[in-house]
């Protein structure tokens, strides 16, 4: 039996997108594999005060075990960033999933039902559009924290951030899916399904949904970049994920304290990593958008 490679057709003839895809795979492996071999630097056993402020390997006093230096608590930046990246990726992916499921469900219902349901859901979307997703995530975060109070665990904080970003992102998905559904629901195959007596739920789920997935995937990729930025920003501002289980944003927040005193590497490495991650996701998202948009395909 021949080994089947995954379908890479969308990446053919696009070196930038292909490079981004490779880069993303490398980053994901880095975030998943390093924590398997290195102890958690944010637990008490993981840090070593003796090594604090070790500079990168090429500077005087560099340590070959810590090629990128160490932070104020003596955490190896290579390990710390792997844990941070893992948190950022987890939050980003789950936030997009929540936005997708929430927005997808509302968009499907709005598009299929039409009439008053449609108007209600889309007006809600309009009201929400008055607020940029980032600001909304901050507001939701603030409100939830006000309700449950200061005493929140890391897991709770993470859940809150995921929910805040996910809820802030649903409008995009809802609008896209709704407009696709509006096109699809008048197609013959939907009428056929309706005549054969299938329920509305089955028609939406089994027949319409598969046909509107392509634009959703594109938006999901673009949203992933935005969600990662949103999480990093929240954590940087100190209202996201706490330093006990830091994401890239929290690492940068911590590093920013030492920028003035010359320990630039604590902030700059996570900054660069975040930049590479976001640019790679965006390049890939842009490319997928062009690829799945038949109007643009074949041009340029």
């Amino acid at each position: 039996m021949r080994l089947r490679l995954p379908r890479l057709a969308p990446l053919r003839g696009a070196p930038g997108a292909a490079l981004s895809a490779v880069l993303l795979v490398v980053l994901v492996l880095y975030a998943l594999l390093v924590p398997l071999v290195a102890p958690d630097p944010f637990s008490l056993g993981g840090l070593s005060i003796m090594d604090s402020f070790t500079p990168p390997i090429w500077a005087e006093g560099g340590n070959p075990v810590m090629p990128l230096g160490a932070d104020d608590q003596g955490r190896n930046m290579v390990t710390a960033m792997a844990y941070g990246l893992r948190t950022s990726l987890i939050v980003g992916v789950f936030a997009v999933l929540i936005g997708l499921v929430l927005g997808g469900a509302l968009g499907l219902v709005a598009g299929y039902a039409g009439g008053r349901t449609d108007a209600l859901i889309m007006r809600l979307a309009d009201v929400q559009l008055a607020y940029p997703a980032l600001l909304l995530a901050m507001i939701i975060d603030g409100i939830v924290n006000a309700t449950i109070g200061e005493a929140r665990s890391t897991l709770q904080a993470m859940t809150i951030v995921i929910l805040a970003i996910g809820v802030a992102f649903w409008v995009q998905f809802a609008r896209t899916i709704r407009s696709s559904v509006l096109v699809e629901r008048n197609q013959d195959y939907v009428s056929a399904a309706r005549i054969t007596g299938r329920s509305a739920g089955a028609i939406i789920g089994r027949h319409i949904l598969p046909n509107v997935m392509a634009p959703v995937l594109v938006i999901a990729t673009t949203s992933l970049g935005l969600a990662i930025i949103a999480e990093a920003t929240l954590s940087f501002l100190g209202i996201g994920i706490p330093l006990t289980h830091p994401s890239l944003g929290a690492l940068i927040r911590n590093g920013a304290n030492y920028l003035q005193s010359g320990e630039w590497w604590i902030a700059i490495w996570p900054c660069l990593l975040l930049m590479v991650l976001v640019v790679a996701v965006n390049v890939l998202g842009d490319h997928l958008r062009d690829y799945y948009n038949p109007r643009l395909r074949g041009r340029s």
């Binding site: 309009d126 980032l134 409100i143 940087f236 501002l237 209202i239 003035q260 700059i268 965006n282």
Partner: protein, 323 residues
């Protein structure tokens, strides 16, 4: 035409009303004025008296009406964190934010309009491609990363600009300004640059797309065929058509700019509205968050409305279509 305008105004008012109601409900359900204003050992009778004095025993809609009536008067209530008047807190910090936003807008216009025209007129030139490549950074990089990088380079390495605060300020007729002192100007450069990067790239990209599209249109081809000079062609005929949509889109990006200003103010410890909002979020000061929610919503909705209503007045083509 007028009917359409009235309908849009009513819609906007309705949305603002909904936003205000959500904000009011937040304050009403999450805030605890009794716990704030009374000592912990207050008797039941004292609590009862205060409840009646604050009108907390009245029906929900009556309290909402009172809350709504207080908004235009500047009666925004008291912060649960600092126990100050919210309106006073906002007024003290508004000048810093407005100055930052204004300088940022100035920087982005001065840089982006020439750059956008250049990339639109000569899209294939090497320099234009370089501008477009750099502009990717402006759309993708998180605001705070830009700020940190600028601080690392211009503040720590080169020591040219301070990395936090507003510098010396002068009070002029109730307006605390930093734009009249040397240190004030020094302090505003880096945050304004950070804030302007997004607008800058946004304007460049929009202007470029607009000009490229208009450059291919009939009336430009016709003008060229009549023998009009290239400079006159682009600057008089093409630019006029390209500028309007660009300004519109920029106005609609205001919400994003407000969000980014929160981040920028935090990076540079800029004492503006954004910092106030952030402190309130950190301290779960629900009343200030709610007021901010209304404030941003109103600013966004009103600008949206103005753009839509003014558009046909500026662009004669739209007037005919609507009539």
């Amino acid at each position: 035409m007028i009917l359409h305008a009235v309908e849009r105004i009513l819609q906007t008012l309705l949305v603002i009303l909904i936003i205000s109601f959500i904000a009011f409900m937040l304050i009403d359900t999450l805030g605890d004025p009794l716990g704030l204003l009374l000592p912990p050992d207050a008797s039941l009778a004292e609590r009862q008296a205060l409840t009646e004095r604050l009108g907390l025993d009245r029906p929900l809609l009556a309290r909402f009406a009172e809350f709504l009536a207080g908004l235009p008067r500047g009666d925004l209530g008291i912060s649960y964190r600092t126990q100050e008047e919210v309106s006073g807190m906002i007024a003290a910090r508004l000048p810093a934010t407005i100055e930052l936003a204004a300088v940022a807008l100035l920087i982005s216009l001065v840089v982006a309009i020439p750059a956008g025209i250049y990339t639109g007129v000569f899209p294939r030139s090497r320099f234009a491609r370089a501008i477009m490549f750099v502009s990717i950074a402006g759309v993708t990089l998180p605001n705070f990363v830009v700020g940190i990088l600028l601080i690392a380079i211009f503040s720590v390495q080169l020591g040219w600009f301070p990395s936090f605060g507003r510098g010396a300020t002068i009070v002029l007729g109730g307006w605390e300004t930093g734009l009249l002192t040397r240190s004030g100007w020094h302090a505003i450069i880096l945050p304004a640059l950070t804030l302007s990067l997004f607008q800058m790239t946004f304007i460049i990209r929009l202007l470029r797309t607009q000009l490229m599209e208009i450059g291919r249109s009939e009336h430009i081809r016709f003008a060229r065929a009549r023998g009009l000079g290239e400079a006159r062609l682009w600057f008089v005929y093409a630019l006029r058509n390209a500028l309007l949509p660009t300004i519109t889109m920029l106005a609609l990006q205001l919400g994003n700019i407000i969000a980014f200003s929160v981040v920028t103010e935090s990076v540079f410890a800029w004492p503006g509205i954004g910092t106030l909002f952030l402190q309130s979020v950190q301290a779960a000061d629900i009343r200030v968050i709610a007021i901010y929610l209304i404030f941003v919503g109103i600013v966004y909705m009103v600008i949206n409305l103005l753009v839509e209503l003014l558009y046909p007045l500026i662009d004669p083509r739209l007037r005919q279509r609507h009539a």
